[in-house]
């Protein structure tokens, strides 16, 4: 069966677009952390003043970018793994293995989503704040965990759907595109 016989259904395309939007947001969060860190150095080293919120903000931005970036990296098939066994299998074997690994990954991420929601809800309901001068309400950075894992789960479901209907078996990332 040729993959082109089965164009992605609307829902899968929509999920893909949500993941891309998450990727764009994550990229800008990383860019923002570069700029804020530079601003922090400027204030401290050039103006000789102390900084309050910057260190904490860039850490939250990085964590947020990591979690929101998860669905986008999944969409790009960018999460590295050992593809030795899949590459040794035939087409059918590879497909079955891909379905099994996607289900296992989905279950794991669903578990993370479930407990992450719990963690966020606690922070929200009890009004937890960070133990710093800035005292950020912790539900804000914690929100990225359930949202990130939730959207990651959604992209995994979309990928599973594609493997089931069109044999779009997760291809490993091309060597030229990998940096580490």
């Amino acid at each position: 069966m040729d993959q082109s016989t089965y164009p992605p259904p609307l829902v899968v395309r929509l999920i893909g677009q949500i993941s891309t939007v998450c990727g764009v947001i994550a990229s800008f969060m990383i860019l923002a952390s570069v700029l804020i860190t530079c601003q922090m150095i400027f204030i401290r080293a050039v103006l000789g003043k102390s900084t309050i919120w910057q260190t904490e903000a860039v850490i939250y931005l990085m964590i947020g970018a990591t979690l929101l970036g998860l669905p986008y990296v999944q969409k790009l098939k960018g999460h590295v793994g050992v593809d030795l066994v899949p590459s040794l299998l035939g087409r059918n074997g590879r497909r079955i293995l891909a379905i099994l690994t996607l289900i296992a990954t989905g279950c794991m991420i669903a578990l993370m989503f479930y407990y992450a929601y719990d963690m966020w809800h606690f922070a929200w309901a009890r009004g937890w704040k960070s133990e710093t001068v800035w005292a950020v309400p912790l539900w804000i950075p914690y929100l990225s965990i359930p949202v990130g894992f939730g959207l990651f789960l959604l992209q995994l479901v979309a990928d599973l759907w594609m493997v089931v209907i069109s044999e779009d078996i997760a291809a490993p990332v091309a060597a030229e595109d990998r940096r580490h």
């Binding site: 990727g23 994550a26 990229s27 800008f28 990383i30 860019l31 952390s33 570069v34 700029l35 860190t37 530079c38 922090m40 150095i41 080293a45 260190t55 860039v58 850490i59 990085m62 964590i63 970018a65 990591t66 970036g69 998860l70 986008y72 990296v73 790009l76 960018g78 999460h79 590295v80 793994g81 050992v82 593809d83 030795l84 066994v85 899949p86 293995l97 891909a98 099994l100 690994t101 296992a104 990954t105 794991m108 991420i109 578990l111 993370m112 407990y115 992450a116 719990d118 963690m119 914690y142 965990i145 894992f149 997760a170 091309a174 060597a175 030229e176 595109d177 990998r178 940096r179 580490h180």
Partner: protein, 439 residues
């Protein structure tokens, strides 16, 4: 159950889960969750997201996306080929100048980009055709670039070293310095082998003769390569001058590299800038996800007393420390054949570090040995990223020839590990000299 038996079960399960093709980050989470559920009960799972979040909640980790942006901005320009051309024009009178300039360009570009496959692609695209045109055997041309590319994870600034520093709570500044002399040692060994192999194959007469360049040609290329080198030197100076932390210097370096790429290489189009940002995000998220998952994995190991028991068991075995180091090296080598360096470091560091330190080895020295082991994994099958990159840019050289050409360079790396074992100060002298003896 005996923690040692649990440890063996963890090792077997991890290998099985990872070989199923599941991604490294998720694989670590699955194994950690499975063992916590069986041995500590469902209540322990409540802590999963907190452990993941806690592992990422560190300012030091910020240096990873920053250094990746820096390397990605440089890699997206023509800086690699320009660097290669600059060295070729300036080193043309040196015997075997072309191989020296190729490997020198690999070392410098590796330092700037911090990425092995990116180095292979950037230098190899020009270097390999030029070497073949001048009469170098295909094996030497392909093998030297494949091996030269691996220097990216050893020569500072290196993301692999940052990850080791974070995983083992070792000074990143010291680790960077520790990679310098072994990096130069490896470059020298690579150059020596490439020239010897060319001579052995009877191609020395043609291949090793130089081409002459005018002074104008020599100087006109410098403005295109010096700014990036200046940024890298500036970043390292700021780091060692105590002006800023690795994350801060990397952030400034990343911003400067983007600005230089925009000014010198006219990379203003939003599309080009987005490509840099997108690639950096993909790479950073992939690595940071593995780091978060490895945090959960190492919590599981220590809460089930696996880490402590394995370290105690090895200490009780009372084997010769060099036999122990040999076994560890073989383990790392095999792990490096299949897994990316970052994953190997994060998975093995919590277990290996107590063993290494109790056997009297220096963790900084060990970082260098570990990194060279990971470099070997980059040019050996089945993963061998660099082999496939070379195959992609020079498709008419067969994968077999590339592999045959690369194997002697694996020998050079093993030789470097032996030399470092005999003279550990090659790795520890520079950090001790510049930063004072380690406490």
């Amino acid at each position: 159950m005996d923690p040692l038996v649990v440890g063996a079960l963890v090792a077997i399960s991890t290998v099985m889960v990872l070989f199923s093709g599941v991604s490294v980050g998720t694989g670590l989470l699955i194994v950690a969750t499975g063992f916590l559920l069986v041995f500590d009960g469902a209540r322990s799972l409540v802590a999963l997201p907190e452990l993941f979040y806690g592992e990422l909640n560190s300012f030091a980790l910020l240096s990873i996306p920053m250094f990746i942006i820096m390397g990605s901005a440089i890699s997206s320009t023509r800086a690699g080929p320009d660097l290669y051309e600059a060295l070729e024009r300036w080193l043309t009178r040196v015997p075997g100048g072309l191989v020296v300039s190729n490997l020198g360009a690999c070392a410098l570009f590796a330092a700037m980009s911090g990425s092995s496959p990116a180095t292979c692609a950037a230098i190899g695209k020009m270097g390999i055709p030029e070497m073949r045109k001048r009469g170098y055997p295909d094996e030497v041309a392909a093998g030297s670039i494949a091996a030269g590319g691996t220097l990216g994870i050893l020569i500072p600034p290196s993301v692999t070293m940052i990850v080791y520093g974070i995983a083992t709570e070792t000074s990143i500044g010291r680790l960077f310095l520790a990679g310098v002399i072994p990096g130069l040692l490896l470059v020298s060994l690579f150059i020596a082998w490439a020239i010897f192999d060319t001579w052995r194959r009877g191609a020395a007469g043609v291949a090793l003769s130089g081409v002459t360049y005018s002074w104008t040609q020599k100087f006109e290329i410098l403005p295109r390569v010096l700014p990036f080198l200046a940024i890298i030197i500036g970043v390292l100076y700021a780091l060692y001058g105590g002006i800023a932390t690795p994350s801060e210097t990397a952030a400034v370096g990343a911003l400067l590299c983007i600005i230089v790429a925009m000014i010198i290489y006219r990379m203003y189009q939003p599309k080009a800038l987005w490509a840099v940002l997108r690639d950096s995000t993909r790479e950073s998220v992939m690595i940071l996800f593995i780091i978060g998952a490895a945090g959960v994995f190492s919590f599981m190991l220590s809460s089930l007393f696996v880490t402590q028991s394995v370290a105690g068991w090895i200490a009780e075995l009372d084997v010769n420390r060099w036999v122990l180091m040999g076994i560890i090296n073989i383990f790392l080598l095999v792990a490096g054949f299949f897994l990316p360096p970052v994953a190997v470091i994060l998975m093995s560091a919590p277990i290996l570090l107590p063993i290494i330190t109790s056997a009297g080895f220096d963790p900084i020295w060990f970082a260098v040995v570990l990194t060279i082991n990971m470099e070997i994994g980059l040019i050996t099958p089945p993963v061998g990223l660099n082999l496939y990159v070379i195959n992609g840019i020079a498709p008419d050289i067969s994968l077999k020839k590339i592999l045959v050409g690369s194997l002697p360079f694996v020998g050079c790396m093993v030789l470097a590990i032996v030399i470092l074992s005999v003279f550990p100060s090659l790795a520890t002298w520079l950090p001790d000299y510049l930063m004072g003896p380690a406490l």
